[in-house]
């Protein structure tokens, strides 16, 4: 801020004639939040790609080996199904590896995947600390906290999203529910869940990485094997979050996307209203 103030004053002195009206903006995202937000993208991608390669070495979801193929891995079954049913995949050379070849670094590279996973995991923890620091310094953490009214508001938002496509088709007006907070209840639930999932991913990660020295941590999640299951499904939280997140950001418009890059938003109206 001090930098912009001085730049601004300097401009006033030099170009009085070119005086322009001021722009009202709100500071929406702290710079540390913005940086860590975008850094999460490559880090999480690296974690998921290497993570599924690690999963390949000993899949959690197994069945009795197929007498003909020896296959016991449910992910391999899905790959085989895809190669049979998805057009263009019929001639895929190794159907059991389809999932691993498309959703991970690939099968049979455990050592490489582990090294990349550790690199990304340590980056993820550091980045998480930067994110939390940004939330605290910018005060943004308060906007993420769930409130008692959220269940009702979340239902209103669900109703809005469900009706939205029909209203568009029928060319009817379909008003967005009004909120006087930074985020609506559904957004809050999502934006609150992701840091929680991040924390749990790190905790379960340590539990399965150091199950002897940190056996108490594994015990919290129900033991070593259960912690592996937790760690696997926590990955899906990010995947399931990202899809609507990206769709809705684009639907919400340029201001919203831009605010995560530059930090400010021109949507000042919400900022003027204090809750109640």
């Amino acid at each position: 801020m001090s930098h912009s103030t001085s730049a601004c004053n300097g401009q006033n002195v030099t170009s009085h004639l070119l005086k322009q009206p001021g722009v009202l903006v709100v500071r929406k995202h702290h710079s540390l939040v913005r940086w860590s937000h975008w850094l999460n993208l490559p880090i999480l991608l690296g974690l998921i790609l290497s993570g599924i390669s690690i999963y390949w070495a000993s899949p959690i979801y197994q069945h009795q080996p197929d007498p003909n193929t020896g296959n016991f891995d449910v992910a391999a079954d899905i790959g085989i199904w895809i190669c049979v049913h998805v057009p263009g995949q019929h001639h895929y050379s190794n159907p059991p590896d389809w999932i691993y070849n498309h959703m991970s670094l690939g099968p049979g590279m455990l050592a490489l995947a582990l090294r990349l996973h550790w690199l990304c995991a340590y980056s993820f923890m550091l980045n998480g600390m930067v994110y939390v620091a940004g939330l605290v310094m910018g005060g943004g953490w308060r906007s993420l906290l769930p409130r008692p009214i959220d269940l009702f508001d979340a239902l209103r938002m669900f109703r809005y999203y469900l009706g939205f496509p029909f209203a568009k088709l029928a060319r009817r007006q379909w008003l967005h529910p009004l909120f006087n907070t930074k985020y609506n209840a559904l957004q809050r639930a999502a934006y609150f869940s992701v840091p929680v999932a991040g924390f749990l991913s790190v905790a379960t990660g340590w539990a399965i990485h150091k199950p002897m020295q940190l056996h108490w941590l594994a015990a919290i999640f129900g033991g070593y094997n259960a912690a592996r299951v937790w760690h696997f499904w926590l990955m899906w939280v990010y995947i399931l979050f990202v899809v609507p997140h990206v769709i809705l950001v684009f639907a919400d418009g340029w201001d919203t996307l831009r605010s995560m890059i530059v930090g400010w938003s021109t949507r000042v109206e919400r900022s003027e209203v204090v809750a109640k």
Binding site: C8, Q11, G22, L24, S58, G106, L145, G253, W264
Partner: protein, 306 residues
């Protein structure tokens, strides 16, 4: 959803404007709620030129970051993955190896810091025992070696090379039992009931040279995928060897070890990954410098502490 005005400050149109002096100042100051209550976002009035300047800077940084992330991804991904994505060029580089190995070493240092000779691993009851699979690539070595088997100790303070057969070991040392979990680097694990002598007792009976910090543990009866004997050598720090739950195991589930599980003597280090739990060990050499390690040479951790 608000049909957001396609405002673009870079073009300076559709800007909520107040027409006052372009100065940075807060305009919305409202009473604050409790500690957890949401504050209104601080609205500030900014000169368009300043905003434009800042935005340009931030977009530039974002673009640079995106390019760096993309290049970094290409730099760090395994060659196999890249070639599947259609990259023909050889992207292997010393820098990539250095960075990934650095992450591995940091992780090893963390594991070493977590280790304590006084921290016991969890033990289980007999009802919790699970099947333990054979990892000799599905093959088993020819059992004739067992009759000729001896354990050789080198690098001792006495300067001698000692050979012990299984009877020596079982009669000279007290046998300890434990039901612990063996965790494989692949992710699977098994709870098994082991019995054997403590490595620590062997170290006390045959002390290594004073400079020794490592044990090189060798097995000459491991098999490769086609069933041929292949030398297996592993490094073990003596701090871990001295852990009370580090055994030179002779029995599994109440029975003498079978060939599948490393008869007649295998190393059992529950604080390390399964790949350090060498089967059918034939030689232990105490050395001052970290010895070579079979799996470390294949890209895995050297320390493998869990």
């Amino acid at each position: 959803m608000n049909n957001e005005e396609e405002d673009d400050l870079l073009q300076g149109k559709d800007i909520p404007s107040t027409g006052v002096e372009p100065e940075v100042k807060s305009v919305s100051v409202k009473k604050q709620e409790g500690f957890f209550g949401e504050r209104p976002l601080p609205a500030v009035e900014m000169a368009p030129r300043v905003l434009r300047h800042q935005s340009r800077r931030d977009f530039l940084l974002f673009g640079i970051g995106a390019v760096v992330a993309l290049a970094g991804g290409g730099f760090l991904l395994p060659q196999q993955t890249l070639s599947r994505m259609g990259v023909r060029r050889n992207m292997n580089s010393p820098g990539k190896e250095w960075l990934l190995n650095r992450a591995l070493r940091i992780d090893d240092d963390v594991a070493e810091a977590l280790y304590s000779v006084n921290r016991m691993v969890p033990t289980y009851t007999k009802s919790q025992i699970t099947p333990l699979k054979n990892n000799y690539n599905g093959a088993t070595p020819d059992p004739v070696y067992i009759s000729r088997w001896t354990l050789t100790l080198d690098g001792l303070a006495s300067g001698l090379s000692i050979s012990l057969d299984i009877q020596n070991l079982l009669t000279r040392f007290s046998v300890h039992e434990q039901i612990t979990r063996l965790v494989c680097v692949e992710g699977w694990s098994a709870i098994a009931w082991w019995a054997g002598l403590r490595f620590d007792d062997l170290l006390r009976a045959y002390p290594p040279t004073s400079q020794a910090k490592w044990a090189r543990v060798e097995s000459s009866v491991n098999l490769d995928a086609s069933g041929n004997p292949t030398p297996y050598f592993m490094s073990l720090d003596l701090a871990t060897a001295r852990h009370p739950q580090t055994l030179l195991a002779t029995h599994l589930n109440g029975q003498p070890l079978t060939v599948d599980h490393g008869a007649p003597l295998r190393l059992l280090v529950p604080v390390k990954l399964g790949l350090k739990n060498v089967k059918a060990i034939t030689r232990i050499t105490y050395v001052a410098e970290e010895p070579r390690d079979y799996w470390a040479e294949r890209g895995y951790s050297r320390y493998d502490g869990i």
